[in-house]
């Protein structure tokens, strides 16, 4: 299994390389001059020449690609044109927001979707089944951003001054600052070192960070800010997971071994969870893996609506601002997310179905 994992990761390298080349070429095809986009329409030719030389945009595109590849291998994604800061630093700041948002949404989708699907399958054609499936159909048909705006309206405005009030924008309330856990613990790292960047990245996962530092105010505030965006983002995956769970369970429940298990007197719950659900899990896990893509795409819209400075929003802004280094780095990160999610799904098959051998 370890050999399999290593081989899969090695196989992912050419895919990532391909994606890097594609995004590099695509982003160079975006019309418009980054110099004019950054410095304004009135920028003179000399200023623009200097600007292009500074960012290496004056060299032929294949040379640019070669230099870029070399730098990426060293972990350097270049400087953002728009922010004049290293892309790696921006990534460290922005990626945790999206990871938190994505994981919470996926958690909601799985924790609600699977039980709903199971219930629907057991009580087939009952009122519960009809309600769940109608709900799931509406869920996949809803524009994420619309649901987000409606949720914001209901929870931030209509329920104001009630305990159900939830903040409509941002990651933390104004005035609150999340103190990185390494500072609380008194750890010291040389700046710019890999370990410093790593702990900085982890500490930007506010929920995780506040759990370590035991700062309950920040924890509560961060969770409150995350609820509305994650609920909005989770609807489509939730509906899809619920539907897949239902059909997969129905398929398994009509098998002979289920009847045999019931006939030998096993409890209904035991049969449903140990015999049926375990065997129905494979397609469900596969579809959960596919949802990671939906989450990334939805993150662009959700982050825009809820004022979250995450990967999706910055990528969208970078595309409109012709900020090549950011577009390239963030697309690769999203692709890496895809690859890792699919790898986890494939590895989980072994645990779900012991008959499957990965080699």
């Amino acid at each position: 299994m370890i050999a399999y994992t290593i081989r899969r990761l090695l196989l992912a390298i050419p895919v990532m390389f391909g994606i890097l080349v594609v995004t590099f070429t695509l982003s160079r095809m975006i019309p418009g001059d980054p110099c004019k986009a950054m410095l304004g329409e009135k920028a003179t030719a000399e200023v623009c020449d200097r600007f292009r030389a500074q960012y290496g945009l004056d060299k032929p595109i294949p040379v640019q690609l070669g230099i870029y590849m070399g730098n990426v291998l060293k972990g350097d994604f270049g400087m953002s044109i728009r922010f004049s800061r290293p892309v790696t630093i921006i990534l460290i700041e922005r990626l945790p927001t999206t990871i938190e948002l994505g994981l919470t949404s996926l958690m909601i989708a799985v924790l609600v979707g699977i039980p709903a699907g199971i219930l629907s399958a057991i009580k087939r054609n009952s009122i519960i089944d009809v309600i769940t499936m109608v709900g799931a159909n509406i869920g996949v048909s809803m524009p994420v951003y619309w649901l987000g705006l409606i949720l914001a309206y209901v929870f931030a405005l209509l329920l104001k001054d009630t305990p159900f009030w939830l903040p409509p924008t941002g990651r933390l309330s104004a005035g609150l600052v999340s103190v990185p856990f390494y500072q609380v613990l008194g750890w010291e790292f040389p700046k710019e070192s890999f370990r410093y960047h790593l702990v900085e990245f982890i500490s930007n996962l506010y929920i995780f960070n506040s759990l370590i530092t035991r700062d309950w105010t920040i924890l509560k505030d961060a969770i409150q800010h995350l609820i509305l965006p994650s609920v909005a983002l989770s609807t489509i995956p939730l509906a899809i997971i619920a539907r897949m769970t239902r059909s997969s369970m129905l398929e398994v429940l009509k098998q002979d071994y289920i009847r045999a298990a019931r006939a030998k007197g096993l409890l209904r719950g035991t049969v449903i969870f140990k015999h049926a659900f375990r065997n129905a899990l494979l397609p469900i896990v596969t579809i959960i893996g596919i949802q990671v893509g939906t989450l990334f795409a939805g993150a662009v819209l959700t982050e825009t609506i809820f004022g979250l400075a995450g990967v999706g929003r910055i990528l969208f802004e970078a595309i409109t601002a012709r900020d090549f280094p950011i577009i390239q780095a963030f697309t690769v990160v999203i692709a890496a997310g895809y690859v890792i999610a699919n790898l986890i799904v494939d590895l989980s098959y072994v645990f779900i179905d012991p008959r499957i051998r990965l080699d």
Binding site: S27, N137, L149, I150, F296, V300, I319, T320
Partner: protein, 312 residues
């Protein structure tokens, strides 16, 4: 004689009732969701056709100087107690003093147009690519399918955003982007059906009779791909409408003052706290339209998929 006639009648009846289309149609009409989806879709198509007749106002012309209404005024429905002397606007007034109801009605035209054109384009190109890939195999197959894999490796909306950035914002370019993003699905569906029948005896027979590749593909093989394409296409229209609205919402698709639902949502999204009706109605319209296609697609799938027939 009489018995012969009876047998003939029975035979004829059986023959008629077992024709593929008849059987499928009957199964479709047994699906509640398909019927509901079809009814909803029919209703939406009627609205789109008769928008001019139903809409009480012009969707683009502001009402300044025509009626005494103010910007972003809430809905006024006479039936629900709005004073009779005030003009009726059942979905309120938008940020440019236009009747929101009329705009939502006209929006159905754009949504249906987006859905049908993008999916037709994607099906045409996808069928061509999938057919070549599956029928000729070898290098063709490798090159085309790897290209499709690359297209599928990106989240569709992100890829569409990138393509629109290359082409420039606007409804036409957004449509093209959404169509391109959708191609791989159809290419795969067609390739799979081609592969499944390519080796059948009747195809070999057709070849032996001197049929050209084109004839065999078009008349012998591709008809097999039609049912899954119809199902995939119906579900794909829903996705295309959602994605197109999302692009417009982000300012990359249809541009104001076009009464397109995504654009309407995008221009008024910051007013959600002060004028929620301007956000609610266009979004609900998108949802209902996509729901119609999804219900119909689900129903069609259940009706056409032979694996599911014995479950009913």
């Amino acid at each position: 004689m009489v018995t012969d006639l009876k047998v003939n009648q029975i035979k004829q009846k059986d023959y008629r009732s077992n024709s593929l289309w008849r059987l499928t149609l009957r199964r479709i009409f047994r699906q509640r969701s398909a019927i509901f989806g079809m009814a909803l879709l029919g209703f939406l198509i009627l609205i789109a056709i008769f928008a001019e007749v139903i809409a009480p106002y012009d969707p683009i012309q502001p009402l300044i100087g025509i009626e005494n209404v103010s910007k972003r005024e809430g809905p006024c429905i006479h039936l629900f107690g709005c004073p009779k002397d005030r003009p009726q606007h059942i979905m309120g007034i938008d940020g440019n003093v236009r009747d929101q109801f009329s705009r939502v009605l006209y929006g159905s035209r754009y949504s249906l147009y987006v859905g049908f054109t993008t999916v037709s384009f994607a099906i045409l190109v996808g069928t061509l690519l999938g057919a070549i890939s599956g029928y000729f195999g070898g290098w063709w197959d490798n090159i085309i399918m790897r290209l499709m894999d690359v297209l599928m490796a990106f989240p569709s909306l992100l890829l569409a955003i990138t393509i629109v950035s290359v082409l420039g914002p606007g409804l036409q370019n957004a449509l093209l982007a959404i169509a391109i993003v959708a191609i791989p699905v159809y290419a795969r569906v067609v390739r799979a059906s081609v592969l499944s029948v390519k080796e059948q005896a009747y195809v070999a027979a057709s070849l032996a009779l001197g049929g050209s590749h084109f004839h065999i593909l078009l008349r012998r093989i591709l008809p097999n791909a039609i049912p899954p394409l119809i199902v995939q296409g119906t579900l794909g229209i829903g996705t295309a409408i959602l994605d197109a609205a999302a692009l417009s919402f982000l300012g990359l698709g249809a541009q104001p003052p076009t009464p397109e639902w995504g654009t309407m949502l995008g221009t008024e999204r910051n007013q959600v706290f002060t004028a929620p009706h301007l956000v609610f109605f266009p979004g609900a319209a998108i949802m209902i339209t996509v729901l119609a296609f999804n219900l119909l697609g689900d129903g069609l799938r259940d009706a056409i998929d032979p694996r599911l027939t014995h479950q009913k």
